[in-house]
Every structure is written in C-alpha cells, then in structure tokens.
C-alpha cells in the first residue's frame, strides 16, 4: 500500500467523525475555569488593597499611640502642661510679653517704694543733717539701685548679643548709658523676649541651633541669679528671682523634664499587653486528602483509586510573616503573608504497551503481552497564603494560652512535578520528565477555615514565642487536572516568634 493511499484511507475514516462527549459537563467545567480566572484577579486586587491598608496602619498607629502615652505620662509626672512645640512657643511668647510688662511694673514699684520710704523718712525726721544724709542715702540708694540695674542690663545685653550674634540686640554701652535704667530694663526684657521667640522660629529650621540657644538662655538665667545674689542683699531678692524665673520661657524647663520622663516610660513595668506584634512563623503540616473524580469513567476511577492506595503521607511547609493587633479583653487579630510548599508522592502503574507474541514465526496463535511499567510521581504545589484570624488569649504572668479561628486564603503558584519510571528494568527509577498534566493549574485560589492553638511565653524584652497545633482545610474540594477533585486536611505544628512594640 502506498503512503498516499494509506493517508487517504486514514483521512476518509476519521473525517467528520464525532467522538462521544458530554457537552453539558464540558460546559460546566469551562464555566468553572472561567470563573476561577476572574475570581483570582479580584482576590489579587483585594489582597493588595488590604496589604497597603495594613502597612499604613502599622506605620501610623504606633506613632500616635506612643505620642499619646508620652503626653499622658508627662501630664502625670509634671504639672506643667506639655503641648507640641509650636503651641508651646506661641503661648510662651504671649506669656512672656505679659510677664515682662509685669516685671517692669514691679521694678518701677520697687524703685518708687524705696524712694518714697527714704523721702518719708527724711521728711519725718526734719533734721537738716539727717535730711541731708537722708537725701544722700536716698541718692546713694537710688544710685546703687541704678548701678545695679545698669550692671544687670549690661550683662543681659551682653548675653543677648551672645544669644543673637546677628545683632538683633545691637545696643552699644553708650546708648545704654544715655537711656534711663527703667527703659534699659524694659528694652532688655523686650530684647530677651524677642530672642526667646527666635528659637521657636529657628526650631523648624535648625534644631541644633535651637538647643544651643536654649542652653544659653539657661546659663543667662543662672548668671542673673548669681548676680542678684551678690549685688542685691535686700529683702526683694527672692521676689526678683521669682520675677526673673517668670520671664524665662517654660519650655526651657520642660526640656529638662523630657529625658527623665522618657526614662520613666522605658522603666515602667510592662504589665499591659502590647498593642502590636510583628513576627515570623513556621508551620509543618501532615496532610490527609481525599480524591474524587467528576466524570466517573473507569480509567479515572482506577487512577484515583491507585493514588489513594499508593500515596504516602503528604507534607507541607509554610513560612511567613504576621502582624498582630492585641485588642481589649485578651482578644487579638492576626494577619500576614506566608509561602507554602506541599509535596505529594504516589505511584502510577500505567499500561504502556500490549504486544502480540506469536508461538512461532508463522503461527497465528500466540499471547498478548502487556507491559506495565511502574512510575512514581512527585508533585510540588507552591502557594501564597494570607491568614486572617481572631483569637482569645488567657494570660498568667508571662505565660499565655491562645486560640485563634479564621480563614486562610490561598493562591496557587506554578506547580511542578516529576515522573520517575523503571522502564530500564529493576528497581532503579529514572526521571522521565516533567509531570505537568497531573498538577493543579496556576493561579487557582481557594479559601480554607483555620484553627490555631498556642502556648506562649513573653520575655521582658517584648519577645514572644508561641508553639501550638493548627488545623486547616479548604471549604470546598479543589478541581485539579484530569477531572480530579481533591480535598485536603492539614494537621500541623505552628511555631512563631514575635516582637511587640
């Protein structure tokens, strides 16, 4: 028979032949696959959205929480009201202006009181000498007071020049001499208040500069105290010191309190459950699975039964990161992302060939020899998992027992598989190729229920270790290639290490 004749015969025989197939079942499978594809995209977008929200939540909330804690502690430890820098500066500036004015009035009153006392004393005595002396005393006291103020002004001006090297307070000593002592004091206090405004503005531009200026202001305050202690032995010293104290912005002292307060925050015993925890987990699962087939033809049933009989235990590893929010009354909310790998191993004894072996060369009789070759199939499924659980924790000292329930969303990554055959004979199995037809399709996604138990220990440094059993299983059976439906139950052990913040 010629080649062309053979080809023609084949063509004629096959042409237009319709193989029996259930179109409704096929349509159902097509729809299922189409829906799977659509849903997987929807889940990817959704998980990205949730992930972004969690990251933002993670980044912003701890800062807000820390700020709130810090403020509360400051309020408790210090009666001084702590507000943010900007508000503080603004209020202290207003406060300072008022104080400066009050100080000026007080100083004026002091001077007038002293002058009046001396004047009245001299007038009451009516003695010329005494009056003369009284006037001298008055003048002396007046001069002494003025000298004192001049010295103070000189010192303040000098300090102001040091504080403000750009010459904002650029009065010369000659100018100060020509100006009355009251005016000088007023000017110096005004300059001082102006200078004290500067750190508030410059704080935004240069924090270091602001700190330096604050130190200078403090040293100025100390110098003034010393000065008044040395030169003013009158009973008004305390009052003046108080007055001076009032002229210094409060935020200088707040700075002093800041470090001890932070120390206090760290030193506080950690009796409360930390608000957030971030950690890593590792799970090892043994998997029990049940295979069923959609179209129960004999071949598929046989294949499924063979798998059921020959499949050894399946193991799965999962490693991931998680974020936990501890809620009130011992409840906790956990989510994260993990990578899992599941390996299944089973035998597949496939009839490869049937050959007729005649009894002799010309004999029509003979036997049909069927060659059965053993095959071992290893399939690997890799997936990305996103758990979301809510749990309850019971604590006793540093120990805690917890139980979490929730859902686990899984997206299948590219599967891989290998076929090993003993086609060369004996017990040696050699790799035949990649088994792609036996593995589940990529991008398949499904949801499982999940239960975690755990016994944990929290160290004083915030590290928390938890070990416990976990069970999860998909809600529905999953369709894999060759019309097989697989339902897997995972029984495993979970270990996690987390750090609270």
């Amino acid at each position: 028979m010629s080649d062309s004749k053979l080809e023609r015969q084949f063509r004629e025989k096959i042409d237009g032949h319709v193989s029996p197939i259930d179109p409704d079942a096929l349509w159902k499978d097509i729809q299922l696959k189409q829906n799977d594809g659509r849903r997987s995209y929807k889940w990817i977008y959704l998980s990205l959205l949730v992930g972004t929200a969690l990251i933002l939540f993670y980044m912003l909330l701890p800062k807000m929480s820390l700020l709130s804690n810090k403020n509360t502690l400051k309020e408790k430890l210090n009666s001084t009201e702590i507000i943010d820098d900007k508000t503080n500066k603004e209020s202290s500036n207003d406060h300072l202006t008022k104080e400066a004015q009050q100080n000026i009035i007080k100083l004026e009153n002091n001077l007038n009181t002293k002058t009046n006392t001396i004047t009245s004393f001299s007038s009451e005595t009516n003695l010329s000498e005494t009056a003369k002396n009284g006037i001298d005393v008055k003048n002396n006291l007046h001069n002494q007071e003025e000298n004192t103020k001049l010295k103070a002004n000189e010192r303040i001006t000098k300090n102001n020049q040091n504080i403000n090297p750009n010459g904002l307070s650029s009065r010369s000593s000659q100018d100060s001499k020509s100006t009355s002592s009251k005016d000088l004091k007023i000017e110096s206090l005004k300059d001082k208040s102006n200078n004290e405004i500067l750190p508030a503005n410059s704080n935004l531009e240069n924090k270091t500069e602001h700190q330096n200026k604050k130190h200078q202001l403090k040293s100025q305050f100390e110098q003034e105290i010393q000065f008044f202690e040395q030169d003013e032995k009158a009973e008004t010293t305390t009052e003046k010191l108080v007055t001076l104290l009032n002229t210094i912005p409060l935020n200088i002292f707040n700075e002093e309190f800041e470090k001890p307060i932070l120390k206090n925050i760290k030193a506080l015993p950690n009796k409360k459950m930390p608000s957030f925890e971030i950690g890593a987990s590792f799970n090892y699962d043994l998997v029990s699975r049940k295979i069923s087939v959609i179209n129960e033809d004999s071949f598929r049933l046989e294949y499924a039964q063979l798998r059921e009989a020959s499949e050894r235990f399946i193991e799965s590893y999962n490693a991931g990161l998680f974020l936990r929010k501890n809620l009130k009354a011992g409840f906790r909310l956990t989510t994260g992302i993990g990578f899992a790998q599941l390996t299944e191993r089973f035998d597949s004894n496939i009839v490869i060939d049937s050959i007729f072996i005649p009894e002799s060369l010309n004999s029509q009789n003979g036997i049909i020899e069927t060659t059965v070759r053993s095959r071992k199939i290893h399939n690997r499924y890799r997936s990305i998992n996103v758990p979301l659980t809510i749990g309850k924790t019971i604590r006793k000292n540093n120990w805690s027992f917890s139980l979490d329930v929730g859902a686990l969303w899984t997206m299948q990554l590219e599967p891989s598989g290998s076929i090993y055959s003993n086609h060369l004979g004996g017990e040696n199995f050699t790799k035949l190729g990649i088994n792609e037809s036996n593995t589940a399709p990529q991008d398949m996604e499904y949801t499982s229920w999940l239960i975690n138990g755990g016994l944990g220990y929290r160290f004083d440094n915030g590290i928390y270790i938890e070990v416990g059993p976990r069970i999860h299983s998909s809600f529905k059976s999953k369709l894999i290639a060759q019309q097989q439906l697989v339902k897997r139950h995972y029984f495993g052990l979970k270990c996690s290490l987390s750090k609270s913040f």
């Binding site: 015969q9 025989k13 193989s19 007729f356 076929i419 035949l432 990649i434 037809s437 060759q482």
Partner: protein, 184 residues
C-alpha cells in the same frame, strides 16, 4: 440556535451562545484532540482549554475568510500543540526498530473503525503523532509543520515516514490479534 446567532452571540460573549457552540462542536473537536493526545483525559483538558481560547478570541473570527469549523479546528490544533510542547514527556521508551517493517506491506484499514484508528494514532510517540496528524489528516505542508514544531523539514518528513511505519505495524498486529480471537 442558528449558526449565525451562535457566531454573533459568541462575538458578544453571550453564555447561551457559547454553550450552544460547545454542544454543536465538542464531539468534532474532541476527535481532533484525541488524535493529538496520548491519553483521553488529556484530550478532554485540551478541548476545555481550546474552547476557552475560542471564546476569548472569537472576535478574531472573520466569516468571510472561511468556515467556522476550519477556524475552530485551527485553534484547537494550536492548543493541542501547545499542550504537547508543555508536556515534555517524550522519553517514553519505545523501541522504534521493533515496530518498523521492512518493505511495502499491504495494510488494509477497512475493517478498522474510526475510533480504533484514532486510538492507533494516539499510541504513536508524541512527535510522530503530531507530524502525522498535521500532514496526513489536517493537510499542513512540511514547511508549515517545521515552523509550527520548531524542527526542520527533513525531520518532519522523517517523522512522518516513521509514524506510518509504526502505524502499519500496529494495524497488522491488530489484525493478527483479531484473527487470533476468532480462531479461539
């Protein structure tokens, strides 16, 4: 549903039209898939993928350029070839020389049914089966086959002759076993 309605419905991605297309052409295309696949269950998977590809690209079908059957077959063949490429299981141990027959033997296939012939073709090694199907049944030239499969034309011719030799041998074996059964 009329063919025109099916075509316009599929172009608009209407599920009822798609279902009608599946009902109408699944048997025909399944035969094609069975010829290209070694295992029947793989053939069903290929057919499923082929329909998904057809629905996705139905807007590309131009009524003026040919019959719908031909376009559907072309798409299905491409999906089947892609499947065979991804399968990568070519290392099935077949002692080719044992199958090859010397000389020109008479090989009548009149007694064989279409289903038996399809099974015989499916038993061929993947590459031979693909070349035989493309050339002998689906009418592609060696040049086209070489392009589709990424081989040269000489290989295509060689694969075709080997495929035919194996088929002849299998047909003869089949007949012998049949006569053996009758004798018993």
């Amino acid at each position: 549903m009329e063919l025109n309605n099916i075509i316009s419905g599929c172009q608009n991605k209407r599920p009822d039209a798609q279902k009608a297309l599946v009902r109408r052409y699944s048997g025909l295309l399944f035969t094609l898939c069975r010829r290209y696949c070694y295992k029947q269950m793989d053939a069903r998977d290929v057919l499923q993928d082929a329909f998904m590809m057809i629905f996705k690209n139905f807007h590309q079908y131009d009524v003026s350029k040919g019959l719908l059957d031909h376009w559907l077959k072309r798409v299905t063949i491409n999906v089947a070839l892609q499947h065979n490429r991804s399968q990568k299981i070519f290392a099935i141990d077949l002692n080719e020389e044992a199958y090859l027959l010397e000389g020109d033997h008479d090989c009548p296939i009149d007694n064989l049914s279409a289903d038996e012939i399809i099974k015989l073709i499916a038993k061929l090694p993947t590459q031979y089966r693909t070349v035989f199907n493309l050339y002998a049944i689906d009418g592609f030239s060696h040049k086209e086959i070489a392009e589709k499969m990424g081989i040269n034309e000489t290989s295509s011719r060689s694969n075709l002759s080997r495929a035919k030799a194996i088929l002849r041998k299998n047909i003869l074996n089949n007949q012998k076993s049949d006569s053996c059964r009758i004798a018993n």
